[in-house]
Structure formats: C-alpha cells, structure tokens
Amino acid sequence: MTTYGPTQDANETPAGNDKLVGLLAKLDEATTLLTNSREFAKPAKLPRVFDTARRVLLQEGGAAAIEARAQALEEAGVFVGSDWETPQYLVPSLTTHSLKSTDTNTVVIEVLSELRLLAVAKGDYLHPLISSEQAHHYLTQVLALNLSLLFGTPSEAERESQGRLAQIPRHLFHHLADRIGYEHIIDRLIDEIWRILQQRPILVEPVKQMITQIAICQANPEIDLGVSGQGADRLVSSLFGPTQACREDPGVEVYRERLVSMDSSALQSEATGFARAMHDTGLVSPYHTVLLRHLLDHSDHLLSEALGLSSTGRDCLLCYHELVHALIRAGVHPTTPQAVYGLTLTLERGILYQPPVAPAMWRQLGLSLSEWSKARLNLAFGDSVSPRARLVEGVLCVLGLPLGVGQGNNPTCQSARALSMWAYNDPDYLLQMVAWAARDDDIIMHFEGMPLSSMASLSGVATELPMDLDPVSLIVVPHLDRIYAEMVRRCIGREGDPHRWVNPEFHGWWSGRGFRINVDVATGQLDELDAFLRHFYASYHPYYNGNQPLIHPQPAGIAVTDSAARFIGWHAITILRVSLDPDDVMRVYFFNPNNDSGQDWGDGIQVSTARHGERFGESSLPFEEFASRLYIFHYDPLERGELAEITQQELDRVIGHIHRSWGANRIPPTNLQASMGPEGA
C-alpha cells in the first residue's frame, strides 16, 4: 500500500535483509496476538510487540517496514492508554527527551508514533484524529528539533546511557528526512551551524557532517530545496571550494597541479580567498592545506596572506620562520586542515614570544609517542596521517583556540577546564603536560606536597575512556581525570567541599586559595547567601573591587539548570573577565567546557555566545544572572576587601533567581523569605 522513496533499503545487505524478514515475521505474529487479545489482556502482549519492533528498527530498512505497518500497529492497540493515543495533542519538543530516554519502551513507542504520523502525512493512513497536514507539520518540527540525531553519530554519553538503542532514533530520522524532505529542515539547520561555529570549537567534525549533508542535498537533483538553503553557500564553499581555482571541488591532486602553473598574483588571490573563508567560518578546506604546503617554497609574504595574519601574527611568523615552516610540514595535511586555523591563531596570540614556548614546540615536533598514545589517536581519528601529525594539529588548535576545548559527552568538565586554562594562561605548562602524557603515559602533579602519578591512580570520574575529544584532550584528559579524582579522594573526611583544596592545586598557582561556597555540603541547603554574593561582587565586580579587571582566569562552580529552571547538576567553568558589553551592561565572560554553551538556563536566563561582546568561545551573562547560578568561587585571601555594599534590590533580584531555580528546594528553614510563604520550606 505504500510506495517508497529512496530509503535505506537501497544499501541493504542480503544477510541483513534475511534478518529483517525474519524479524518482521515475528513482529507480525506479535501484532496479531495483540490485535486478537481482549482489551484486558493487551498490556501483557505489548512488551513482545515493543521488543520485536525495537529489533526491527535496529535493522536497515526497519523504519520503512514499520511505517508500512503503522496502521496495523495502531489498530492492534500499541498506543492505547498512553499519551500517544491522541496524536493531535502531542508536543514536538517532548520528543527530544523521549528519544534520548534510557527506557527502551519510551524510545520505541515514540518512534512508532513518529512513523505512524509519517504514514498519515504521506496520505497512506487516514487517521481519525489528525490530518495529513497536521502530521506533516508536526514531523517537520520534530526533525528540526532533533537535528543532531539526524546528522550526528551517537555521543559516548548516549552510548553509555542508551547503548544500541541510540541507533533507533537515528534510523528513524534518516528515514523521516528521506520521506519528508530535507528542504523543510535545512534553514533551521543552517542557523544552528552558524551558532555553533561562532563559538569556534576545536572539534568541528559534527559541524562538517551537517554541512556535508546540506551539500549533498543541494547537489541531489531529486531534492527540491525550494528557496531554503540560501545561507548555506558560505558554509559549503568554505569546506569544498573557497577559491577560484577549486570552486568546482576538483580534488586535491588536481588542485596541486593547478598551483604549479600559477604565478604569484594568482597565488596571492588564492591565499586571500582561503584566508577569508577560514576567518569567516573557522573552518578550513583541505585545499587550503595544499596551498600552504606549496607556499613553503615561496615567500613568507604569501604564507602570511594565506593565513590572513595581522601585523602581530606576521611579526611572529617572520620571527619564528623556521619553526612555522616545520609546523606546517609536520602538522598541516589535507586530512588535518584545522591545523591551519590553529596555527594562525597561535601566531596571532603572540605566545611564541614567551621564552619556553618555541623550544617546547620544537620538542613537540620531535616527540616520540608511546604505543598507547598512537593507538588512541588512530582509533579516534583513523590513520590517514601519522598520530604525531594529528597531535601537532591538536596542539596548534588548543593553543590557538583555548576556549574551543570541549569535554565531549563525558563527565570530565574539570579536566577540560584545566586544559583550556593552561592553553590560555600557561601554554608552556600545557605543552609539558602533552609531552608527558603522549610520550611517557604518565603525568605527575603534586597535591599538598605529595606527588600524584596518573599511572598509579586507579580510576577517574569517567568510567570509560572518552573518545569524542580533540587530539590533545584525547591524550591528556584521561590522565588529568585520574589525578583530579585522586585529589578528591585525598580530601575524603575533610569538612566541606573538596574543591576548596583541589581547585588551586589542580589548576595552578593563580587560582585563589580563598574559597567560598553558598551550599552547606552536609545538608545541601543554601548557606550565607547574602555574604556569599556580597563577597563575590567585592572580588569580581569592577564597580566594587576598585575597578580591577580580572587578572587570571579563575575556576568557579555553577549550578546548571534546564530551560524550566530545574537543577541539573554542578558544573565547572572558568571566569575569564568581567566588563561592560556594547550596551553598557556589566557581564561576566566565562568559559564553559560544555561543547555548546548557548544554553537556556530557565527563568529568563539565556547564556549568550555572540553579539554581547564575546570573544570566540566565550559565554556571557549579565553579572546578576551569572551570580544567581554561581555556587563556588575562589579569591585571593590577601586581597579580600570589604563585603560589597550592593543595594538590597539588586541582592533580592539575584536571590529571587536562585529561589526560583536551583535553590527552590534548598532554602533552609530558618532563612525563609517572607515572600516565599510556607510552601518555600
């Protein structure tokens, strides 16, 4: 009854097909049992239908097969008694939660419902409660809301919580997109890509995948994008054809041949084109690397053009001419294009002028990697270039984009924060860490005078080795994570929060030894909120600290809340600077090791990543709003001044934000605010 478009069926293996046929027979049998059973007996027959449907959905072509059976499944009673029974009331935004649920049945029933609505949208199933247009609209929204499921591979964290189940929503979305059409989701996707790119992450693979999908859609004559997708040109061209000579994406070999016959004005024009694309998007085309390697035999002037350097960067390039050439030879390859951007920004930061950094870079170039490091790098990135080249690319990116470090989907925000902080504040130390970890498989840090070896420490916060990381994090984070966990273990039995001692020892001498927390560790209740906030203002707010800009990045702890302002968990961030934004609002600019910092924390607090004076990778919030999510900060005990004389109104606004969000259940009985009423307890 259903005709199929170009779905997954095409690339099905015969063996997989046999398996699908066998499973479908089992599904039909289970569905028949459900259909024929009395209403009271249906609940007992459902698990078998769900479980078999789940296994069908794991197969290639499974989603199409379920779509064809959607009406039969609904009539058998799979949705009876659940919210899905009345599809006209379903809320698209809830699918983002249900599809990531760890509960198998929730995922399966959600997927069954989507496929049912697909059959309705396609007119194959006349549903009594929802029209074809309504179903289509609903599915479009679901697709746009779950783009990461469409284009992303399961994150480590999803794999951890969902296991094989994580494949099912992906199969669903590929099928949905094929059937509904990419044109309905593409504009939404483009906005999303630009938003992420503005944060200049180091790991751009997911973004590249999304752009590639768009490029494929645009190139496919069967997909009619209509007027959508206009904003994608810059994104697609920056990867696949940023300049005249590679506009039609001819392949790197052809491009290399073209370069040979170019005179210097043609090369100049190529160089400028690449540099513009790179600085526009933060993405580097593989062709760019070919040009760069070609230019090694030409003048440094052209090299500087190709990197789009300012006078600072150009000086640095000229001064460290040999090192830069060596870095390009070692780290810039068509499969490591982001090294170009990393190198550019490293030069722009001028950090090579710090005496230990250039020699440390030479060490990096000659570093022999341990077998373990090589294996990890090859496993995560493939072996198209040597692990050493991969690591050079990673080092350049971390040094150039210290705020582009992300924790992946791993509970290692502390380690990611430390790496980023060192790259930002102490690049020489970072390079030392990389050398120890990559060459020796061991990092030794000291905690209160006691050496802690990462090799000797048993386990870290992460239960599995994280894989979804940039090359430097991939090598260093497992060590840092173990040392961090060991430091916390050494604090067992001490009264109060272990971060008081761990943060300064772990991050560096510049983390203030003074420590304030506004939660009582024993009870989890809010503690001395007024004094905490006044102290924070006095330490960080330029109006209350003698107009002293923040000198060193400082570790801080925030209570993360979701868009409904519900408490999610404690999170490690770095406070980078506090200053007025272009609209004269005092903002805290901070680094969030979370991969996408543009988060909605509820109660009107929307973390900004652009257009409020942020530098690449920075997140920002107005000072008050930031203070309302802060629970730990450090300060220099010798510089401790008077508690800030902030107005009661301002204090009340901050406390209001706290009480309406993560502090709602943490208000100590004695500290009841009159306005909260008895339910506040």
Binding site: A41, P47, R164
Partner: protein, 407 residues
C-alpha cells in the same frame, strides 16, 4: 467466544490473566474466583467474577463451594499452589466425592506426597521432615555416612524444600553444617531430600477419565534457570518408561481427571526417581512454550479435562500428537543478575541477534543492589527462544548462564 450451555461451567481459582484470556476464547462458561482487589478490574472488563479471600481459612470456607454450586458451576480449577486444596474442597462438594479433598491435601504436603508415592511402589530418594536446624545437620551427616564418606570428604549435598510452596520457592541446597545457619527459622518445617545425580525433568500430563490424554516432557537444562519443550530426543527415548511412571502415579494418587505436574530424576543407571507432583499449572511459563510448539492453549486443555461434561471424542480431537506435531523446540531462561550492583538492563547482542531468540519479559532494574540469592526460583524475568534443533537450543540456554543481562 460464544459459550456452549451444554458444556461445563468452570470456576478458575486464583488470578491469572492468561487463564482468563484462554477462558474468554473457549466455549465453556467460566467465573474467576479471586481476592477483592480484582473486582474493579473485572467490572471494567466484563470478566465474570466472585470475590474470595483464599488466605482466610475458617468455618465459612464451605461458603464458596456453596456459592459456586448455586451458580451452577460444575468444577473448580486451581491455578496456583495456594488454591489446590481450595479446589479440592470445592470439587468434593460439586462432584459429590469427598475423596477429592483428601487427594488435594496429599498434593499440598511434600512429605505426605512422597510417602504416598513410596506406598504406591514408586522410587523416591531418601527424605525426611526437619523441624529445626539440628534435624538438618543430622540428616546431612547420615546421608553422607550412608554414602561411606569419611570425615573431610566433600559432602554430597542435600536439598531442602518448603512443604507447601510451588516449584523452586524455598528450595535450598545444603552442603556443609555451616550453611545450615543461613536458613531462617521461619522456613521450618521443611522437607529434606538426598541429592540425586542425574537428569531432572518435569512432566505435564493432562488426565481424563483416569487416562493420559497428553503427556509432555519438559527438559530442565539447569534447574531453576532453564527449561525447554518438547524434550531432546535423548530424553524422549525414555518416554515409554515415563508413561509407565505416570500411570503408576495416577494409580497411587487415585487421579481421575486434571492436570498433574510431577518432577523426576533419571539417574545414570536409568532408574527413575520421583521428586514431587503438583496439581496445578507449572511455573516457568511452560504453558506458553507448549503453545509455541504445539499451538494448543494449555489452559483450555486444562479446562477441557477438568470439565465433567467433556466427551472422549472432544479430548481426542483437542490434543495434538506428542512430538510429531511439535513445530520445533521452545525454551526459556530465567535471568538472574550476576553482579552485586546493577544499573540497567542490557540484553547481550549475541542473544538478541540469535535466530532462536523470540522475546523477553525483563524489566529495567528497580533497585541497584542485588539481594543475595539464597534459594532457587527468584529470577527477574524470562527470555524465550524457539528453534528447530533441540541441541542448539539446549546449548544456547546453558550458555545464557554465563551472560550478564543486568550491568
């Protein structure tokens, strides 16, 4: 299904949705006798229902029999161990046969049951009742002395079973006197049995007019973990001997009709030892396995043989032919978490991808800490397999014991 007023009217004692569904789809009139908590559900779904609290034994106990009699019910079928003597009492009135009640009491007491079997010329292992821990230690010692064990030799284990519980509930294996201390006082009195090395299996036999109408052999792969039907050819080889044993049992217990579910051992010298017998549907979803391979509903089969108005012809037409009519082999495995702390359910891929895998009824863990397994029969749910080859299925079921389903 349309009910036939010329056929029997059946009372189901105990609450089982599968039994109710089978009754709905069968041509006999029926009524469910269950505790009061079932009332709302029965009203909502139009299920004929009489409330009764089976735990309350007092002088009003005749009431339920009389109520059913007034309704015109012909026979009562016990669905659980706990309702066996209730069915005996009810049926002795409905069928005007006091002997039936006595028979049901025999079925409820494992020690009495063994003595009766012994009197009927059926081989049983060494057994004895224990009233306290000292009895257990004494029995363990005596059994091992009989086996000519010296001090320090590893003991042969003994088995402890509750007198009146179904299947594996309360079943413990004791090897050393130390282990005796782990038995809670409230479990006494118990039945103790010597250990028999051999092949354990169970039988489901539907009996009509004192004759076997259908006899299935359920092969245990590992007691308390896995079972499959029909039995492998190696065990089915013993079918004539097993039929003879069941006929002895029918005679010894004077069984005229119904479903019996005995357990036996075949020892290495081809001798059959009687374990115990129950007068109710077996646990471990053997009914569902039978339906998978033979296609008949075993609850309906039970109603059929219990119904005094059923004719020989009807019985003959209802049951398939043993073994030859079976469409493959079906088995199930009871999952028990192997780790002490678990956080989620994860069916191993090799299980899910096996062509024999059918379905499972496991749920996500409710608690993270797994209570220590002290007795058999406390699995967290079953997984079902079906396939063409008995040996593949048997090895597959055995292999499940080495897998983690909860991690």
């Amino acid at each position: 299904m349309k009910k036939d007023p010329n056929k029997g009217y059946i009372a189901l004692l105990g609450w089982s949705l599968n039994a109710i569904e089978a009754a709905e789809n069968f041509d006999r009139r029926y009524v469910v006798v269950a505790p009061e908590w079932a009332e709302e559900y029965c009203q909502k779904h139009d299920i004929p229902y009489v409330p009764w609290n089976f735990e309350r034994l007092n002088d009003r106990s005749m009431e339920i029999a009389e109520t059913l009699q007034k309704m015109g019910v012909d026979v009562a079928i016990p669905l659980y161990e706990e309702t066996v003597e209730w069915a005996g009492a009810v049926n002795s009135l409905l069928l005007d046969s006091p002997r039936i009640y006595g028979q049901s009491l025999l079925m409820r007491d494992k020690a009495l049951m063994k003595r009766r079997a012994q009197l009927g010329g059926i081989r049983v292992g060494i057994f004895e009742e224990a009233h306290d821990k000292e009895d257990v230690v004494r029995f363990l010692k005596r059994v091992n002395q009989t086996l000519l064990k010296l001090d320090g030799d590893p003991n042969d284990p003994i088995h402890l079973k509750a007198f009146d519980k179904a299947g594996c509930l309360g079943h413990r294996v004791i090897r050393t006197p130390d282990e005796v201390d782990t038995i809670p006082e409230e479990e006494f009195p118990v039945l103790m049995e010597s250990h028999l090395d051999g092949w354990e299996f169970a039988v489901e036999a539907w009996i009509h007019n004192g004759k076997i109408a259908f006899l299935n052999i359920s092969e245990y792969v590992t007691l308390g973990y896995s079972v499959f039907v029909p039995a492998s050819p190696e065990l089915e080889k013993y079918r004539p001997q097993i039929v003879a044993q069941i006929e002895k049992l029918i005679k010894a217990f004077d069984i005229d009709f119904g479903l019996i579910h005995p357990e036996y051992f075949v020892t290495s010298d081809n001798e059959m030892y009687f374990g115990e017998v129950a007068y109710r549907p077996p646990g471990f979803k053997v009914f569902e396995l039978l339906e998978r391979v033979y296609g008949f509903n075993a609850y309906q089969a039970t109603m059929l043989v219990f119904d005094p108005k059923t004719t020989e012809e009807e019985v003959k037409a209802f049951f398939p032919k043993e073994i030859v009519d079976a469409n493959g082999y079906a088995g199930c495995f009871g999952v028990y978490p192997r780790r002490r702390v678990v956080s989620k359910l994860e069916i191993p891929e090799e299980v899910e991808d096996h062509p024999y895998f059918e379905s499972h009824e496991l749920n996500a863990p409710a608690e993270e800490t797994v209570t220590k397994r002290t007795a058999f029969g406390t699995h967290w749910g079953l997984i079902y397999f079906k396939g063409e080859d008995a040996h593949t299925l048997r090895d597959l079921l055995k292999h499940q014991e080495e897998l983690d389903f909860y991690v």
